[in-house]
């Protein structure tokens, strides 16, 4: 029997002393090996859900299991099972790409010899080999995004969480990132992805969930959802299900 990459049951969560996102009796299952897209308007609860799944936030009720391990109770070692590519640049701009990858590799517990090989491999695949010794603060937006991704996959995780991994990058960088993610998925990594780039999502994701007000309002493959709702594209589907009201 296949273990789901993520299994959320009866989840309840609310930010302390704050109104806004409030998960109640929330359920979701993401199969291992999927390229799963999580979409919704601003404030829908995507980033909160991502933070709950990666253990950055603690939930009060229910259960979130990552590859059969309860996130709230996990020992730190379970963090080797997943990688996280946050929306914000998550590295040290005063260090070079090589130095950042070497540092995070050590934090993932990768053996020193393997860190070097993996660093060179990732720099090569993501087109950063020639600039690997330059400080990241001198990098372009696209290069920074690629380094951000490289750190998240440094340890070949079984599940990779990506929070808007291509925001603000040029076409070439987006192409490189999406291609790399597809290859990573082919090698067995489950991708859990959020973005506002709906075309990109349609290209990448094998299954999607639309979330609004901390509730799932649609969950299936894109083809099935388009057919069910009589839409031709992702944007039409999105607007039909979430409405045209501003969510700022």
């Amino acid at each position: 029997m296949n273990i789901p990459a993520i299994k959320i049951q009866n989840l309840a969560f609310q930010y302390p002393r704050q109104e806004g996102v409030c998960f109640k009796n929330f359920n979701l299952e993401i199969n291992a090996g999927e390229r799963f897209g999580l979409f919704g308007p601003n404030g829908a609860g995507k980033t909160t859900l991502m933070n709950l799944m990666t253990g950055l936030l603690k939930y009060s009720e229910g259960s979130i299991q990552l590859l059969d391990h309860e996130i709230n109770d996990h020992p730190k070692s379970i963090n080797t099972l997943f990688g996280f590519v946050p929306q914000d640049f998550s590295y040290y701009p005063e260090l070079s790409a090589r130095e950042n990858l070497s540092f995070y590799g050590a934090w993932y517990g990768i053996a020193p010899g393997k860190i070097k090989n993996r660093t060179e491999e990732l720099l090569h695949v993501l087109g950063l080999e020639s600039v690997g010794d330059r400080m990241l603060k001198s990098f372009s937006g696209g290069m920074k995004r690629r380094v951000n991704l490289a750190i998240g996959v440094m340890h070949n995780p079984q599940v990779l969480f990506l929070d808007e991994p291509t925001v603000g990058v040029d076409v070439q960088s987006r192409h490189a990132i999406i291609n790399y993610l597809k290859k990573q998925n082919e090698s067995g990594t489950t991708l859990i992805y959020t973005s506002h780039q709906l075309e990109e999502a349609a290209e990448l994701c094998t299954k999607i969930a639309l979330i609004d007000n901390a509730k799932i309002i649609a969950h299936d493959s894109l083809e099935v959802l388009l057919e069910t709702h009589g839409q031709e594209g992702m944007e039409g589907l999105f607007l039909e299900l979430t409405g045209k009201r501003f969510r700022d």
Partner: protein
């Protein structure tokens, strides 16, 4: 171990690449120590080496007024200036300002008459009937005008009292001499021989002045011995500006979010920061002490004499640096913005420095502050350094200060752990 090593390398590289930050971390404390020592050194010299400028207006035409001036001169405390005989009390104040005199003394007109009559009265009483209060001389027993001492209002009370004491001592010398003369003349029916007079007046018991030190050294502590250790501690604790700010920036950055999703605990990152910044504080102290020892004489400042117990110096420096680093981490954990960290960090260090006796000696503080100052780690660090630099002590003489400093460090660490848990950082 691999994580700690990688994090130390990371923190070290980030620190070394921040050239401006490094410059501020080393140059500013050095500048601070030089400026404070220079300022304190001039005060030190004013009090210890420079004579107090004294303007004397002698209205007395008799010998006692002149003797009084002579006696004051012999004390050696004053740079004497005599006011013009045409002067008046009114324009004396103006003369004080013009001639930069801190003190002025007016010797009244009947000073000689008063002293001589007083001496005569005492001598007569002593020779005839000491119990009788009926024997009176014809001269007035009360001086019509007292000695008047004008002083600059900035003069501290204790300083003023010591000057007043010097004047009283001079009066006593003159009065004593007059009494002895009168007694001698009454008994021997002739004047006191000059050599006997000198013997009576100047064969006082000498006072040897010896500074106390644990090492037995008789080197007098100078402004450098006082100020360099004190302001080095201040500089070490000022690491809060750099480290506290770094902590907040890292905490608010994406890199921290990433670290939180990793297998290792954030405590590894904190441990690495302790090692790296402890090294910085030890280097700061080493550089400042080296400059005090080697460069100060070229700047016209007294050289800093390093304690003989080098290990004790290293241990005090390391424990002080460790406490400073932990304090900075604590501030960084609780602050939400670099502004909060810098503002609170800087002001709190100033307060702790004031409480710790860096600005005003702790013994001069009011009683209620004497208890509070014990919570300041800077106080214990200063006491330990003074034990080594001023008293020539060894490790065994200052271990209580080191233990107190370590105790405060542990309390800071416990508070930091509470903050880390409360803020969901570990």
């Amino acid at each position: 171990m691999q994580i700690i090593k990688a994090t130390i390398i990371k923190d070290g590289k980030i620190l070394l690449r921040d050239r401006v930050g490094l410059f501020m971390m080393f140059f500013m404390p050095i500048l601070l120590v030089i400026v404070i020592t220079s300022v304190q050194n001039s005060t030190f010299e004013l009090v210890n080496n420079n004579k107090i400028s004294l303007l004397v207006f002698n209205k007395d035409k008799g010998p006692m007024g002149a003797q009084m001036v002579d006696a004051i001169r012999k004390i050696g405390l004053f740079k004497l200036q005599l006011a013009d005989s045409t002067s008046s009390d009114q324009n004396l104040v103006a003369t004080m300002h013009n001639q930069d005199a801190l003190v002025a003394l007016v010797i009244p007109r009947q000073f000689t008459a008063f002293i001589e009559n007083k001496a005569g009265e005492i001598a007569t009483r002593a020779l005839k009937d000491p119990d009788s209060s009926q024997i009176k001389s014809d001269a007035p027993a009360i001086l019509p005008d007292s000695l008047i001492m004008y002083y600059h209002p900035v003069m501290q009370s204790s300083f003023r009292q010591s000057i007043e004491g010097a004047f009283r001592s001079s009066v006593q010398v003159i009065q004593g001499e007059a009494i002895v003369k009168k007694l001698y003349e009454a008994v021997n029916q002739k004047e006191v021989p000059a050599d006997l007079e000198k013997q009576i007046l100047f064969s006082q018991v000498p006072i040897s002045k010896i500074p106390v030190s644990r090492s037995g050294s008789r080197t007098v502590p100078n402004a450098s011995q006082h100020n360099v250790p004190a302001w080095t501690i201040f500089a070490m604790f000022f690491i809060v500006i750099s480290l506290g700010g770094t902590m907040v920036r890292e905490k608010n950055s994406g890199s921290f979010i990433r670290l939180k999703t990793m297998p290792a605990s954030y405590l590894h990152a904190l441990f690495s920061k302790q090692i790296v910044y402890l090294t910085v504080t030890i280097l700061q102290a080493a550089v400042i002490f080296a400059i005090g020892n080697k460069i100060f004489p070229y700047l016209g400042l007294p050289a800093l004499h390093l304690p003989k117990d080098g290990w004790a110096l290293f241990i005090v420096t390391a424990v002080t640096g460790y406490c400073a680093v932990n304090y900075a981490i604590c501030v960084g954990v609780f602050a939400n913005t670099p502004e909060q960290s810098n503002g609170f960090g800087a002001i709190s260090i100033l307060i702790m420095a004031a409480l710790g006796g860096l600005i005003v000696p702790s013994f001069a503080m009011p009683a209620h502050l004497q208890n509070i100052l014990q919570i300041s780690p800077l106080h214990w660090a200063l006491e330990a350094y003074y034990g080594l630099f001023l008293e020539g002590g060894k490790l065994k003489d200052i271990w209580m200060n080191i233990l107190s400093l370590l105790g405060i460090t542990v309390l800071i660490q416990i508070f930091t752990l509470y903050g880390l848990k409360k803020k969901n950082l570990i």
